[in-house]
């Protein structure tokens, strides 16, 4: 989306049909994710940590549809994450006992906000677009801080907890392990939707916008509309992740709406490799683990996270996936 020359060359067609090797890797990934509650405690981790990795991976993959595949640099996606979280939290606290309904409502609120605000943001491109998305995001932050009686203000929203899911014939209790599987299902559905979109004609338009906006305009494609569509879809996915995040902690705070979170989601995309479909998953894995570990050993964890930002941007702009891919080619 920028007119400046980019010195890094990216693959023009990032999504080939899965070759044998890729299918093999995918099966390994699926097995690893399905068996997390078995092997993670053996390595000294805890299952909630894995849930958090998947939640942030889902959010970052949603953001990456806009960032990595459409070329829209949004610094405000925390807003939709937080709206999803608040929507779900407020539903459970005040209106319903159905966890699934609360998740659906939270996702709708965040996604619809992105659908409505995207068209405003896409009036400008490039750096301007980023500044507008940051500012829109901060608006929701201040609303959440100021609207004390409804949102709990700066202290955050408490007083809700995830409720057992009642299905005809059986009940899912949503303790740590079963909640992990709920997150995994949402992650699988979310990434399947994103994968399907990216391999559809719509997805090809997104990538084409990233590669050459001017040419698409000449071809008579309304670039604004498509970026807004990408913005909206990514908003829905991010909001889903946000509502799961509220359920994970049984808590949400204005921090989930703040631009700091937007920055974290962006660095997750960059860390993993934003031109790779599974990059954000790798990035979320690295980022959540580093954050969890560092904050347990030093008070100056912010400096370490800041260094992660600076160093990865300077030395690994293609992220882990891009780095390994380049390695294996040369």
């Amino acid at each position: 989306m920028s007119s400046q020359a980019t010195e890094i060359k990216h693959d023009a067609a990032p999504l080939q049909k899965p070759a044998f090797q890729q299918r093999y890797a995918f099966i390994c990934l699926a097995v690893a994710l399905l068996t997390v509650p078995v092997w993670l405690p053996l390595l000294g981790g805890y299952t909630d940590l894995a849930s958090r990795v998947l939640i942030f991976a889902l959010a970052a993959m949603g953001l990456n549809l806009l960032l990595g595949f459409t070329g829209g640099l949004s610094f405000g996606h925390a807003a939709y994450f937080g709206l999803g979280a608040y929507g779900t939290g407020l539903m459970l606290a005040n209106y319903t006992h159905s966890t699934l309904l609360a998740v659906a409502v939270g996702t709708m609120i965040g996604g619809l906000a992105a659908t409505l605000l995207g068209p405003i943001a896409v009036r400008r491109r490039g750096i301007y677009f980023s500044m507008i998305t940051i500012a829109i995001g901060q608006m929701f932050y201040f609303i959440a801080v100021r609207w004390n009686s409804f949102t709990g203000g700066e202290d955050g929203l408490t007083g809700f907890s995830r409720q057992p899911i009642h299905m005809p014939g059986f009940t899912i209790s949503l303790h740590t392990t079963s909640f992990y599987y709920l997150v995994l299902v949402c992650f699988a559905v979310g990434s399947w939707i994103l994968w399907t979109i990216l391999n559809s004609p719509l997805g090809h338009v997104f990538v084409a916008i990233r590669e050459n906006q001017k040419r698409l305009t000449f071809l008579g494609i309304r670039v604004d509309v498509y970026i807004a569509v990408s913005f909206a879809i990514s908003g829905f996915v991010v909001a889903l992740a946000g509502s799961l995040d509220a359920l994970l902690d049984n808590f949400t705070s204005p921090d989930n709406l703040k631009y700091t979170l937007s920055g974290n989601l962006l660095i997750i995309c960059v860390l993993g490799g934003m031109r790779n479909f599974w990059g954000p998953l790798v990035g979320a894995f690295i980022f959540v683990l580093v954050q969890d570990y560092i904050s347990s050993i030093t008070q100056n964890w912010m400096t370490v996270i800041g260094l992660v930002f600076v160093l990865s941007v300077i030395f690994f702009p293609l992220g882990a996936m891009g780095f390994f891919r380049r390695r294996s080619r040369s």
């Binding site: 400008r124 608006m139 941007v313």
Partner: protein, 287 residues
Amino acid sequence: MVILFNAFNGLIQGAFYALMAVGLSLILGLNGVINFAHGGFMAMAAYFAYTLIPYVGFWGALLIAPILAGAVGYVVEQLIVRRLYLRDPLYSLLATFGLALIIQDLLRTIWGAQGVPLTIPDFLNQPLSDVYFFITGYRLFVVALAIISTIGLFAILRFTRLGIRIRAGNSDLETIAAVGVNIYLLRSANFVLGIMFAGLAGILAAGQIGLTPTMGDELIMPSFVAIVVGGVGSLLGSLVGGLIIGVASGVTAAVYPAATEVIIYVIMGIMLVARPRGLFGQEGLLE
């Protein structure tokens, strides 16, 4: 009368926004970088001033601290920002964002998380008038200094060789590189100039609201809004934008306090719908 008082308060707040926004806008224009660490540099200069005041007094600190912050800015530009000029804006955005985290954390480690007051000269603290509303000399001083430094900046941009090159670089960097201007040096100088403005704003703000490591956070978002409202690429726009949102939030504080922060984003939204390039912005710049 209350509204008038609040409007004046807002004007002072707007002066901070404007000073911040002018620095940000300078760096955005020539360096093409949204400097997320601007708030960090601002707090850094304020802490420098806090440490220097016992030795050189308020006036000395007001002069030296922004220069020190500028020097740190120069090192940062050389080490980090410079490497990212040719890349997608995403990278400089994330790098300065990380830098903001580092600066904030270091400030907290060195000077503590607790807020500390910045001592200002006694005669500035005298209330000038309490007939209609309460004004201290300091507030007038802030406005005066903001005006003087902005006029100074515009004079630099208008009359000095450096300023003319900055403006030329803003409109076409490639051409001035082709006619022999060292654009890397120019962008370093411009970055330092922007940081010094942040430093000045930081010290002035600290005199009013005190010092905390996060003090820059509260001012940086309104400065972004000021730039969007005023129009990217126009320093005058950033200035006017800052004053407009300052006054708007001041007036809102009197009428409907809960919306004090939100109003500026509403103004931005209206501006984007009605006139997407901002008050004084050029069409298509930096896009």
